[in-house]
């Protein structure tokens, strides 16, 4: 899902940069106000872990691959602000240090994976747990759905960004269904890994699932 340079035109690039910077500004302010040192420490450790798992590309026949994105896991563990910061750190290092994802597309990549994926997964998980209780079957369903829908909608956003850029000749009519469909399929794996990890953590280290603690800051 990492958009390289060359796909996005300057307006899409600028709009996505502005949206990501605005969310990032609010997130940093919220994090600073909360001063939850344990949760902030967890950001870099989780970001390091997600960075490592993203290096585990599972190659698929036909010359493509899938890897865990981790936005839903970060959201469920740390909430929408620290979850954003976690995935933002991963994307920033991937782009600037390893040229993975374009510099002109960094705003779009952050918007898709660190904001849309994170926020969607967080609200689905919170909604399920609040409505049906913090029980394991609920956690599995919520984490799976959060992981799957987060990736699917992030893929859809990616399709719109590419589709509305004039350099892509087929427009959103092609880019949107292709990117959404492909990520809806890949999102099943994301959902399964997210659900298994969340259930494991709730058994072994429940204090790390901050979105169940109820501290929204």
């Amino acid at each position: 899902m990492h958009i390289p340079d060359g796909f996005l035109d300057i307006i899409i690039s600028a709009v996505t940069y502005i949206a990501s910077l605005a969310y990032g500004y609010i997130a940093l302010r919220r994090i600073r106000v909360s001063r939850n040192s344990e949760r902030i420490s967890m950001v870099s450790v989780l970001a390091a872990g997600i960075f490592a798992t993203q290096m585990l590309n599972w190659p698929l026949p036909g010359g493509t691959s899938l890897h865990f994105v981790g936005g839903a896991l970060a959201a469920i563990m740390l909430g929408p602000w620290q979850g954003f910061l976690t995935i933002f750190l991963v994307l920033l290092v991937q782009c600037l240090v390893f040229h993975d994802g374009g510099i002109t597309a960094l705003g779009a990549n952050v918007l898709n994976m660190a904001i849309i994926d994170v926020v969607v997964a967080y609200f689905i998980y919170r909604l399920f747990v609040k409505k049906f209780g913090a029980r394991n079957p609920v956690r599995v369903a919520a984490a799976f759905l959060g992981g799957w829908l987060g990736i699917t909608l992030a893929g859809a956003a990616c399709g719109l960004e590419i589709g509305y850029s004039p350099s892509f000749p087929y427009g959103p009519g092609v880019a949107l269904p292709v990117m959404t469909g492909w990520h809806a399929a890949l999102g099943i794996i994301e959902g399964v890994i997210t659900a298994l990890t969340v259930v494991y953590l709730t058994q072994r280290a429940p204090h790390l699932i901050f979105s169940e603690v109820g501290d929204e800051k």
Binding site: R32, I40, S41, L60
Partner: protein
């Protein structure tokens, strides 16, 4: 603090095995990023490839075999993330004057 240490150990193990997936198996199926393939098919110009800003392009380290370079890249990436995280933590916990 103990769970942080455990998480870091697991992360390092993941990096050590990562070339199996990111290099060896990827080469065996002729992996390319799907969007890179689309860009090539559509003749889109990725100007940044000719204006590369990092010696660690695509998780490689100049002079090292791809598998070793992938591991070294992983360790460098993790170290940078932890340093930035530490800086943010200090910044966030600093008292407002």
């Amino acid at each position: 603090m103990n769970s942080f240490r455990k998480a870091l150990i697991i992360t390092l193990i993941l990096v050590l095995i990562s070339p199996i997936f990111g290099v060896i198996l990827a080469d065996s199926v002729g992996f390319h990023e799907p969007l890179d393939l689309v860009a090539e098919a559509l003749n889109l110009q990725d100007w940044s490839e000719s204006l590369n800003w990092t010696p660690l392009f695509d998780y490689t380290v100049p002079g090292l075999p791809a598998e070793v370079g992938y591991i070294v890249s992983g360790i460098i990436g993790i170290a940078i993330i932890l340093v930035i995280g530490l800086a943010i933590n200090r910044l966030a916990s600093r008292r407002k004057d």
